[in-house]
C-alpha cells in the first residue's frame, strides 16, 4: 500500500473526503449544505459563540461545527428535531434583544439575522422584547453604530483587531450588560478608528452601517439652483451589479451613468480622470525624490483610511507620505475651480457628489483643509450601496438600462486610472508612468507589472528603470501596513515606494461596497478590474489628452506647477496622542478655555516637566489668565514619541526648550 488512505466522514448519510479543511463547517459545505452561522468568518479567527452552526456528531453529541476539527469516521447530522429547536430558540432570543425595525433598516435585504429567521421558520417570538434602547452613535462621519441591533458575534471586533491591527472597538462588561463599543464607551469619532468600514462590511446585521447621505443628495438634486455633478470611483462599477442581484465581476459603469442621468444628476464624470491626474502628480513627485535621493520610502496617499492611520500612529512619517491628495479630493478641487468658469456659476451652486466604495472618503471630504471659505470641494459622498438604494427608490430597473457614456471632458480615463480600484493598481499605474518616462518608452504599451497584482496582503518586487533599481512594496489591510510603517519609522525600510490600501484586496472590497464575504467572489471583482484595463485603448496616464487640456486651462500648465500644488496637494496632521493619559492640574472657570498640556514621561526628565508646569501656572497667575486655561499633564507612556517637557497650547506644539515661546503661545491663544 503506497497511497495514503483518504480520511472521510459522513454528513446526513453522504460520505465526504477530508482534505485539510480546518473545521466541520467547511467539510459540510462541500455537500451543498450551508449551515447557519453568525460568528464564523473564514478570514478571521474562530470564536464559536453564537451556537447556530450546531450539528449532531454520533456518540459525541451536539457540537459547534465552526470550532470542531474534522476527524476520520465521524457521523454527522445537520438537521434533527432537536437541532432545529435549538437554532430557532437562539434566533428568537437574539430577536427579542433586537431593535426590530426591519422595513427601515439599511441592511434589510442583506441581514443575516433576518435571513436566518426566515430560513429557520421563526414566525413568533416567545420572549419579551427588551425595553430600554441604547443611544445610537452617529458621531462618525463614516459610520453609524446602533447597539440595539448588535448580536455580539464579535466579527467587527476581530476584523478591526486581526485584519486592521487597530482594535478601535472591543467587548466590554459581561453577562446581560455585555456590549461591543469603543474604549471607555466613547463615541467612534473620538477614538483611533480610521473609518475604513470593514466592521460594517462584516457585521451580519444593521448594528454598524455606513453613515447615510442619501437625503442630502436628493435635496441637492431637487434644488433647481444647484448644478449636481457626480464622480464615480473606479471600484464602484465592479461591484454595483451585485446590489442588483447580478453575478460578481461585472462592469456596471454604463448602466450607472444612465441611472444617474435619469435621477437628475446634471453631469456624470469619472474619478478615473483624477486617478490619472494623481499619477501625473505622484509619479512626478516620486521621480523628483529619485533624483534627490529621498526621502524614502515614499508611501501612497490615496487611501484616507491609511492616511489617518499614519497620522495617528506614525506622525513621524509625514515626510514619507506623498503630498498628493486622493483622486476624490483632486476631482473636487478641480471641479470647483473649472466648473464655475465653464458654466458661469458660483462655487456654492456646484454640488459635487462622490460615489465611492469607501466609508473613509466621507470623513476625508469633511476635513477643513479641503474646504474653501467653508464650502467643501466634495459636498457629499455616497457609498456604492447608498447609490444602489437611491436607484432602487427612484423605480429604475437597473438591469434593463441601456448603457451610457460618461460626460466629457472629465469623464475620460485610462486603464491606469481604472486599476486604482484594486490593491497594486496605484503602484502599477505609477510605474507605468515613471518607468515609461525614465526609459523613454512612448507610448508605453506593454508595460505591465504582474508582481504587484493579486489579493495577497503583502507583495514586493524590484524594478530596473534606467540605472536605478527600485524596490517596491504593496500592502493591503492596515495590519499588513503596520510592519512596513514601523520599519520606515525606524529608518530601516529597504523600499523606495510603498502602496497602502486599508481594505483587504483594495477599494473593490471597500467598506461601502455590497456585502460580500466570500473570497472567490472578491477575487472576481479584482479580475474584472484588469479585464477592463485590457480593453481600454490607453493604458498609461501619460496618454490622457483630456487631462493635458485641463492642466493647460485650470492647473497651471503642468504637474507640480504652483497652482497644481495649491489645489492638488496637502499637508498632514499629527493625530497622535488620542489616548495619552491626561490629568487636569488646574482648570479655570471661564466657559471658553484653552488647553495647555505639559508632557510628562515618568522617569525621564521629570524635573524639567515639573519646572515647566509650575512656571506655566505661575505665569497664568501673574497675568490673570488662570481662569481662561485648563492646565493638564499628558502622560506619554514609552510607546509615544512625545518627550518630557514638551507643551501643547490649544493644539500648537512647543518643544519645551523655550519658556518664552510657550508664554507667547498662551497669550496668542487666549487673545484669539
Amino acid at each position: 500500500m503506497t497511497t495514503p488512505e483518504v480520511k472521510t466522514l459522513t454528513v446526513n448519510g453522504v460520505q465526504v473526503e477530508i482534505h485539510g479543511e480546518r473545521n466541520l463547517l467547511e467539510v459540510i459545505r462541500k455537500t451543498g449544505i450551508e449551515l447557519p452561522t453568525f460568528c464564523y468568518h473564514s478570514e478571521l479567527s474562530v470564536y464559536g459563540a453564537c451556537r447556530l452552526c450546531l450539528v449532531e456528531v454520533e456518540k459525541r453529541g451536539i457540537m459547534a461545527a465552526c470550532s470542531t476539527p474534522p476527524e476520520n469516521g465521524m457521523v454527522i447530522r445537520t438537521d434533527t428535531k432537536q437541532l432545529r429547536e435549538i437554532r430557532k430558540i437562539n434566533i428568537e432570543l437574539l430577536l427579542a434583544n433586537h431593535n426590530r425595525e426591519c422595513p427601515s433598516c439599511v441592511r434589510s435585504s442583506s441581514c443575516t439575522l433576518q435571513t436566518l429567521a426566515r430560513r429557520l421558520g421563526v414566525d413568533t417570538i416567545r420572549y419579551k422584547q427588551r425595553q430600554e434602547l441604547e443611544p445610537i452613535d452617529k458621531s462618525s462621519p463614516s459610520l453609524e453604530r446602533d447597539p440595539n441591533k448588535c448580536v455580539l458575534c464579535g466579527d467587527c471586533v476581530r476584523v478591526c483587531t486581526e485584519v486592521q491591527g487597530i482594535g478601535a472597538i472591543g467587548f466590554s462588561f459581561r453577562g446581560s450588560k455585555a456590549k461591543v463599543a469603543p474604549a471607555f464607551d466613547k463615541n467612534l469619532a473620538e477614538v483611533e478608528c480610521v473609518n475604513c468600514g470593514q466592521c460594517a462590511a462584516v457585521c451580519p446585521t444593521g448594528a454598524i452601517i455606513p453613515h447615510q447621505n442619501r437625503e442630502d443628495v436628493w435635496n441637492a438634486i431637487h434644488d433647481p439652483s444647484k448644478i449636481v455633478v457626480a464622480q464615480v470611483a473606479p471600484a464602484v462599477r465592479f461591484a454595483l451589479a451585485e446590489f442588483f442581484n447580478q453575478e460578481a465581476g461585472q462592469n456596471a459603469a454604463g448602466k450607472l451613468v444612465a441611472a444617474l442621468k435619469k435621477m437628475g444628476f446634471d453631469y456624470v464624470y469619472d474619478t478615473t480622470f483624477t486617478a490619472d491626474m494623481t499619477i501625473w502628480e505622484e509619479a512626478e513627485e516620486f521621480l523628483r525624490r529619485v533624483k534627490a535621493g529621498g526621502p524614502f520610502p515614499m508611501f501612497t496617499s490615496c487611501c484616507p483610511g491609511w492616511v489617518k492611520y499614519a497620522e495617528i500612529n506614525f506622525p513621524s512619517l509625514a515626510q514619507n507620505l506623498s503630498s498628493c491628495r486622493s483622486p476624490q479630493q483632486m476631482f473636487g478641487a478641480t471641479m470647483k475651480e473649472a466648473l464655475p468658469d465653464m458654466l458661469g456659476k458660483k462655487r456654492e451652486d456646484i454640488v459635487v457628489v462622490s460615489i465611492m466604495p469607501c466609508t473613509a472618503k466621507k470623513y476625508e471630504a469633511g476635513l477643513d483643509k479641503f474646504k474653501v471659505d467653508g464650502n467643501p470641494d466634495v459636498d457629499f459622498v455616497l457609498t456604492t450601496t447608498e447609490i444602489g438604494r437611491m436607484i432602487d427608490s427612484f423605480g429604475i430597473k437597473f438591469n434593463e438600462l441601456e448603457q451610457e457614456a460618461f460626460d466629457m471632458p472629465f469623464g475620460f480615463g485610462t486603464g491606469a486610472g481604472v486599476i486604482f480600484g484594486t490593491s497594486g493598481g496605484v503602484m502599477e499605474a505609477a510605474l507605468r508612468y515613471a518607468v515609461g518616462k525614465i526609459e523613454g518608452k512612448v507610448p508605453m504599451h506593454g508595460l505591465e507589472f504582474h508582481a504587484v497584482r493579486g489579493s495577497q496582503r503583502f507583495k514586493e518586487t524590484s524594478i530596473k528603470a534606467g540605472d536605478a533599481e527600485l524596490k517596491i512594496a504593496v500592502v493591503n489591510t492596515l495590519g499588513a501596513a503596520k510592519e512596513l510603517a514601523q520599519q520606515a519609522a525606524d529608518g530601516k525600510s529597504p523600499y523606495h515606494f510603498i502602496e497602502v490600501m486599508a481594505c483587504p484586496g483594495g477599494c473593490v472590497c471597500g467598506g461601502g461596497q455590497p456585502i460580500l464575504n466570500d473570497r472567490i467572489k472578491r477575487s472576481r471583482r479584482m479580475e474584472a478590474v484588469y479585464k477592463c484595463d485590457k480593453n481600454m485603448q490607453f493604458k498609461n496616464s501619460l496618454e490622457n489628452h483630456m487631462l493635458k487640456d485641463c492642466y493647460e486651462k485650470y492647473l497651471g500648465g503642468q504637474p507640480n506647477s504652483e497652482k497644481a500644488h495649491h489645489l492638488l496637494h496637502t499637508k498632514y496632521e499629527n493625530l497622535n496622542g488620542i489616548f495619552d493619559a491626561v490629568e487636569v492640574v488646574e482648570a479655570g472657570k471661564s466657559s471658553r478655555k484653552i488647553a495647555v498640556s505639559v508632557c510628562v514621561t515618568p522617569g525621564k526628565d521629570e524635573k524639567k516637566s515639573a519646572e515647566m508646569l509650575s512656571q506655566i501656572l505661575d505665569y497664568a497667575d501673574q497675568k490673570g489668565l488662570a481662569d481662561k486655561l485648563v492646565v493638564e499633564t499628558a502622560f506619554a507612556p514609552s510607546c509615544t514619541k512625545r518627550q518630557a517637557g514638551e507643551v501643547l497650547v490649544g493644539g500648537r506644539f512647543f518643544d519645551g526648550t523655550d519658556l518664552d515661546a510657550v508664554k507667547q503661545g498662551i497669550e496668542e491663544a487666549v487673545a484669539k
Partner: protein, 177 residues
C-alpha cells in the same frame, strides 16, 4: 499661591503615573500579564481611572478598547474611585432573608451617602453589596475593610463606624457629614 507650594504641587502632578510605570516595569511591559498588572495598579491607586487604563494600554501597545474590556469584565476591578474604607455588605440569599436591606439603609443614613452614589463625598467610605461571602451561618454579614462582622443589626451600625473612625484618629462620621 506661593512659589514653593506651587512647585511642590507641580512635582506631585508630574509624578502621578510613577507607581503605574513601576508596576509596568516590574512586569516587563508584558501584554500577556494584563490582568495581574491591572490588579497591581489598582492596589496602589485604589481604583482604575480612565487615565490609568489609557496609560497602561499605550505602554503595553494594546488597544485601549481591549484594556477597557478586560477591566470591565472582572467585577474585582473598580472604574470608579473608592473611599479609604470599604464596606462590603453581603446581599446573598441567606443575608437578604435575614434583613441585609435594612442594614444597607442604616449605612447610607449613618454615612450620609446620597442616593445613586456608593461613596461619601469626602471619599472616606465606599459601600458595596456583594453576593454570598460564604459565611451564611453568620448572616447578615458585613466586611469592613478586612474585618468580618456577623449577625449585624441596623442599630449596630453607628457604633461600628464611630469605633473605626476613632481607631483611625479621624473625626466621627457625623462631624464629617
Amino acid at each position: 499661591m506661593d512659589a514653593s507650594v506651587r512647585a511642590r504641587e507641580a512635582e506631585k502632578a508630574v509624578s502621578r503615573m510613577e507607581d503605574a510605570e513601576a508596576v509596568l516595569r516590574e512586569y516587563n511591559y508584558d501584554k500577556a500579564k494584563l490582568v495581574p498588572i491591572l490588579q497591581a495598579v489598582q492596589a496602589r491607586y485604589n481604583w482604575l481611572s480612565k487615565e490609568l487604563l489609557s496609560y497602561i494600554a499605550c505602554a503595553l501597545g494594546l488597544p485601549p478598547a481591549r484594556v477597557y474590556g478586560v477591566a470591565t469584565f472582572y467585577a474585582h476591578f473598580s472604574l470608579k474611585p473608592k473611599g479609604k474604607n470599604i464596606i462590603r455588605l453581603c446581599d446573598g440569599t441567606a443575608c437578604h432573608v435575614k434583613g441585609s436591606t435594612a442594614i444597607l439603609d442604616a449605612l447610607y443614613e449613618k454615612l450620609n451617602i446620597k442616593p445613586d452614589r456608593d461613596s461619601t463625598d469626602d471619599m472616606m467610605f465606599t459601600v458595596e453589596t456583594v453576593s454570598c461571602l460564604g459565611a451564611c451561618g453568620l448572616a447578615p454579614v458585613m466586611l469592613v475593610n478586612d474585618d468580618v462582622h456577623g449577625q449585624v443589626k441596623p442599630s449596630d451600625i453607628p457604633k461600628i463606624i464611630d469605633d473605626l473612625l476613632a481607631k483611625q484618629g479621624s473625626k466621627t462620621a457625623n462631624e464629617v457629614a
